[in-house]
């Protein structure tokens, strides 16, 4: 039963994974007369590509951008779905609740092309906001093309797209919290905020920890299409993240060895991060992503 999935991954995932061997080569794609002969014929150079990679300031720009965006989003994005879920949970009217849910889930299903389009049309230089401000005689601020505030912009886009979707898990977890606990606590005289603090949030803790771990393990991924699409508007220095760096190194600069080395670096760091985060979760008494069984 597993065979079809096994085969698909073998052909379209693991077979190309072998191509990562070029990370240890001075790979010249034009050697010999086929891609395979280029792979076999290119000389192995050990860790030279990694040395070049670590000496490239553009690579560190990409790492720093990626990590700062992850950190920024952990602070300004991560709590928002929790807050929105709590808010929705407290809405009594079923009809209002389901209407709001329907609306806020929708952007999750839009492609990045579409999300970026919406932002350009609303906030861009020729967009709705600028148009209204210009009519009012105010010089509109540059939102879509200002490298200094790019981190806010991409976070805003991510929030717009996924804040509603993010509430699903929390809403589900909220619905599993035993209402008797609230009642007992209310009888003991605990107010609304104290109940939230002492019952609701602890109830959400396993989910929050789990999602945090997943996010940390993915700290070096902040999205690819979103950045590729907006790279020209704000320039390389602000919009280059690890995934786009790998992409440009291998596809545009044709330095495949360097690109593959950066990809392997990313995978290794991701693995370490997720293991660390998981240990942290165990230390906090949560089960984390996997259990030592």
């Amino acid at each position: 039963m597993v065979a079809p999935g096994f085969l698909l991954l073998l052909v379209f995932h693991y077979l190309p994974v072998l191509g990562n061997v070029v990370a240890f080569q001075d790979y010249n794609p034009y050697y010999g007369d086929s891609a395979l002969s280029a792979l076999i014929g290119s000389p192995f150079i050990g860790l030279e590509n990694f040395r070049i990679l670590f000496a490239d300031p553009a690579f560190w720009d990409a790492v720093v951008n990626t990590l700062s965006i992850t950190a920024f989003q952990l602070v300004f994005f991560f709590p928002l779905p929790i807050a929105l879920a709590l808010l929705l949970h407290s809405v009594m009217s079923k009809r209002v609740k389901s209407f709001v849910q329907t609306v806020v889930y929708l952007p999750h299903f839009f492609s990045w092309v579409l999300v970026v389009t919406f932002f350009v049309q609303m906030l861009g230089g020729a967009g709705l906001l600028s148009q209204e401000l210009r009519d009012a005689g105010i010089t509109p601020p540059e939102i879509m093309s200002n490298p200094d505030t790019f981190i806010v912009l991409v976070t805003a886009e991510a929030v717009w797209k996924d804040v509603g979707w993010g509430t699903i898990v929390f809403l589900a977890a909220l619905s599993t919290i035993d209402t008797d606990l609230y009642e007992a606590s209310a009888v003991d005289g605990a107010g609304r905020w104290r109940r939230t603090w002492h019952i609701t949030l602890p109830g959400l803790r396993p989910v929050i920890v789990l999602l945090l771990i997943l996010r940390l393990g993915d700290a070096l991924t902040v999205g690819f299409e979103q950045f590729l699409l907006q790279r020209d508007a704000v320039g390389r220095q602000a919009a280059e993240v690890l995934d786009t760096y790998v992409y440009h190194q291998s596809i545009v600069t044709a330095d495949y060895g360097l690109g593959a080395a950066a990809g392997l670096f990313k995978a290794a760091v991701g693995l370490i991060l997720i293991l660390l985060a998981n240990r942290l979760a165990h230390a906090l008494g949560e089960s984390g992503v996997y259990r030592r069984s």
Binding site: N28, A126, S145, I251, V252, A254
Partner: protein, 546 residues
């Protein structure tokens, strides 16, 4: 990293002076090729007498000649169908904007393919991500029969020489010297364009020759200058004073957009090969290291500091300079020559009296002015390696057909489609219909070339004389390029440093960084590939015996 790449550069050059791209050496370090040695590879130049009326305005080369009106009757240049009924020819070309319909769904392609006798099937790819697309194609060695590579993408693609050698057909035996005879239209291309189409000492592509050498022109709104009673500036002081006079923030009007490239030209900062020149002692120096560049940067910084540049432009690099210029929010801007005619044609319908003109070039420091420029082709067309001889000939005949010059029926069909369908004939020339705009997207233009001429446009009758007047005046001051005729593949690190260092000087000029940082940035630039590039440029001159 420095050491390895430098070594490779030196090895590549020392090993015979030229990189004979055998495709086995690493080419991260760059390479050079002497184009004048290549004269034996290129087609013998020969004019075809097609009875096309002579041009109305003659351009001084490399400026193209111009026509002020369409010829009354068109010449049929090629009687024989180029196709021999071969299979469809697959081609990839760029487009900016919506992709046109493909294949049988595009009546323009059907019409031209009928004339060709063999269908060309285009895959039209988004121009902004074109380098990505070609990069993937080249890296996977999966190229179509015909591939258009714009000149500005070539400089982005590393190991391009190796790729050309591995993937594309050597056209030398088909086109060198008198062999070009079956393709008379190709024999009319300028020799410089052909020389630029050589890689690894072989003729590898058909060039699409450029029709103008200037990368930048300073444009101003003549209508608004007249209205304000301001004289078009002819010295750097007048430019500054005009800026002061025009800028009225209360009315939402500023003088300039970012015009740094033009200011550099006024101060005679070097521009050859992106900004190189020779010191008196013969060693190459880059513009960042010159006093001229420093003076230009100081002047530009002054324009920013005193608020003479539109604030939208100051805020970012993405502001829509064209929009602001068209709506009269700024009056002086720099742009490519190609921006002029379409803007004039579009805006004169919106703003009566709209008149955009180029500002004649002047020197800031006395002597003759200096104009940046080159005659590199717009794009190159490559043929897939390993096609049978007959197929190569068939494809070359197709390219030849598509390269028929202005004034021929072939050109008219290629450029404007079918009369009554894609264009309507007016007394002053063909005007494209909606269907024409939708279906014609430079498909055949980008797999061919033509002897360049400046075409008339019915909407802007004065454009051709005005444009050629400016060009012929300016071309006299075209900078002498010490590396003229040498084809340089710059070191990878220097290439990847271009934009970051440009950004640093942008910060400096816009006052986001103190001016005293200039020397430190230059030093940083030298360490980050600048000196490596200088070495390559120096060797190139020495090897060429200059």
């Amino acid at each position: 990293m420095t050491s390895r790449r430098t070594l490779l550069t030196i090895a590549a050059i020392a090993g015979g002076g030229l990189l004979t791209g055998c495709g086995e050496k690493s080419t991260r370090g760059g390479a050079t090729q002497q184009l004048d040695k290549l004269s034996a590879l290129i087609p013998e130049a020969r004019d075809v007498n097609l009875g096309i009326p002579p041009p109305d305005v003659i351009g001084t080369r490399p400026v193209a000649d111009g026509y002020t009106r369409f010829p009354a009757s068109l010449t049929d240049a090629i009687s024989e169908k180029p196709g021999r009924g071969g299979a469809a020819i697959r081609g990839i070309t760029p487009v900016w904007g919506p992709a046109p319909p493909a294949g049988r769904n595009n009546s323009y392609l059907v019409a031209v393919n009928d004339e060709l006798g063999v269908p060309v099937e285009f895959s039209v790819q988004d121009g902004t991500s074109y380098a990505d697309k070609i990069g993937a194609l080249l890296g996977a060695r999966d190229v179509p029969d015909l591939l258009c590579v714009p000149q500005w993408e070539v400089s982005k693609l590393a190991r391009f020489g190796d790729a050309v050698n591995a993937l594309f057909e050597d056209l030398t035996p088909h086109l060198r010297g008198a062999e070009v005879a079956p393709y008379p239209m190709l024999a009319t291309f300028p020799a410089g364009a052909w020389r630029n189409s050589c890689w690894n000492e072989k003729l590898m592509a058909v060039p699409n020759p450029t029709d103008g050498p200037f990368p930048w022109v300073m444009f101003y709104r003549r209508d608004l200058f007249t209205k304000l009673g301001v004289k078009p500036p002819a010295t750097i002081d007048e430019l500054y004073r005009a800026g002061k006079e025009i800028t009225k923030p209360r009315q939402g009007v500023w003088a300039f957009s970012d015009v740094f490239a033009m200011i550099q030209m006024y101060f005679k900062s070097p521009g050859a090969k992106d900004g190189w020149r020779r010191r008196p002692d013969g060693t190459p120096e880059f513009k960042y290291e010159t006093p001229e560049f420093k003076a230009a940067a100081e002047f530009m910084a002054k324009l920013y500091r005193e608020g003479l540049v539109h604030p939208d432009i100051v805020a970012s690099r993405g502001a829509d300079m064209k929009q602001l210029f068209q709506s009269g929010k700024l009056l002086i801007t720099q742009d490519g020559m190609g921006a002029w005619q379409p803007m004039q044609a579009e805006q004169q319908n919106v703003t009566p009296g709209f008149d955009v003109q180029p500002l004649p070039l002047f020197p800031a420091t006395g002597g003759d002015p200096l104009a940046w420029g080159d005659d590199e082709p717009i794009s190159y067309t490559f043929l897939k390696k390993g096609l049978p001889k007959e197929r190569v000939e068939e494809i070359l005949r197709v390219i030849n057909w598509c390269s028929a010059p202005f004034g021929t029926t072939e050109f008219q069909l290629r450029e404007f489609g079918v009369e009554g369908k894609h264009h309507t004939r007016t007394a002053t020339g063909p005007v494209k219909t909606d269907l024409g705009f939708k279906e014609i997207a430079n498909q055949y233009f980008f797999i061919s070339g033509r002897r360049p001429v400046i075409q008339p446009t019915p909407q802007t009758p004065k454009y051709v004389p005005e444009m050629l007047g400016y060009s012929n005046q300016t071309v006299k001051y075209l900078e002498k390029d010490p590396w003229d005729g040498l084809k340089l593949e710059m070191p990878a690190r220097y290439k990847s440093g271009m934009t970051p260092f440009q950004d640093k000087f942008t910060d400096l000029v816009r006052g986001r960084r103190p001016f005293s940082d200039l020397d430190a940035i230059v030093k940083e630039w030298r360490a980050a590939g600048g000196d490596e590039a200088r070495e390559l440029m120096g060797r190139a001159l020495a090897d060429a015996g200059r």
